[in-house]
Amino acid sequence: MMDDNDVFPPPLFPPPQRLDPVQQERIRSALRAEMSTVRAPGRSRRTRRRWQIGLTAAAAGAVAVAVTLAVTVPGGSPARPAAAPPSAGSRILLAAAATVASQAPGRYWHLYIHEASAGIPGGAGAVDVIDQWTASGGTFWTSPPCREGTVVMRDGGSQYETFGLGSGSANWTYDLVRHWPASAAGLRARIATYSHSKSDQLSALTALELLVPAPPAVRAAAYRAIAAFPGVQDRGTVQGGQALFIPARDGGPLRLVIDPATGLIHSEIWPEASGQMSWDVDVAQWANQLPKVVPDNKYYCGQHH
């Protein structure tokens, strides 16, 4: 690769830059503070000290990146058939499954979501808007912040555009998931090939309802698989549908608001390190037409403001 760069006299890019030690420490401090927010009581001090020790070890070049192993909740396993009759909460999910089973896919999966990094929807914390159309192969379009009412095609990008699970997972696309099992147990087992974490699996199942364009049979299976999670609670009628609590993580339950009549998840609130991550869903549905597509000539919009 660097041979290509040599053809440009002078070199195209400046030589690699190094963070100044002062800058490096500033970012390091911010990271430490962030890490300390997810640590169990009594461990933060020890961890902080150990990372400082680790800095010298890093200079020796020994870097292991099996972080996943260190933070995965043990004990996740494919769903077992539920022996007991479904709870009231599970019945709501089963009703949603029946609804989505009859919804034919379109050309683009359109999402319009308000994402808040902390606090309940509309509450405190930064709020971002996700406005995205995704085609079956994973190509997606978003509305650029500087040009409202239009979309630009995004190319490649990363594995994070819809959803991915597990190390180096590819982006989950319609084309990828279209042949996944249409049974709850089969789907759960399929997802378990990505992660054994029960929490990850619950994330994946909700992603198949919201983030990932998925065929009706897979969406229905995902709802049924969620219904099979132990401890699903019906918390009553709220704006947008039925509120459900599903035991998810040590920090608290996943809170969903579902309209079983439309199959739409109106709200997802995940317990988070320092609060919660919440999504307020305006739109999650198939569309057959895109808004006006404009070229993405500017590499990033913000620099023109």
Binding site: D4, F8, F13, P14, Q17, L19, P21, V22, Q24, R26, R28, S29, A30, L31, M35, R43, R46, T47, R50, W51, I53, L55, A57, A58, A62, V63, A64, V65, V67, T68, A70, V71, T72, V73, E115, A126, D128, I130, Q132, D155, G156, G157, S158, Y160, F163, G164, L165, S167, G168, S199, D200, S203, D250, E272, A273, W279, N297, Y299, Y300, G302
Partner: protein, 190 residues
Amino acid sequence: MRTERAVGEEPPLVAVPASAADRFGDLYEQHCHTVYSHCFRRLGSWSLAEEMTAATFLTAWRRRATAPPASGDVLPWLLAIANNMLRNTRRAQRRHAAALARMGEPEAASDPAEAVAARVDAERQLAAALPALGALPARERAVIELCVGSGLTTAQAAAALGIPAGTVKSRLSRGLSRLRQQLSQPGTKE
């Protein structure tokens, strides 16, 4: 846009073993300069590059459950996150507002004279290249930044961009060809 959302990919909320923080600390020490260079090449601003470097690692920490197991795959993973941050720097700033605020105002570099001289040189060089780079299609520019700028292999760039390696090669070839034309035109070459 979804590019930075991490909800579905968030790691489980559990007590983080000290070893996890240690390992992530190692990862930061090894790759922070490369991520910083990448951000600077895209932004041409030192202070913003620093913020986006911080945002990248803060996001990477939150998404550590998706970190690739092989050490050779980590840099592409980080640069993919960085690219997501760079697509909308204002959103990244908002998302990490609290953490970035804790960083406070930039302080003087530890070796001001040397640092300032190096920065001026780099800025001048980048300023000469940016117009030509900016004229490229975004997809070709992205490949050139990763392969030529950050020195990723074709396979690593493919992983970072989520596209096939063959596509990386063809975009690199086309992009470099376009750049040569750009830079050979009068008025575009420094």
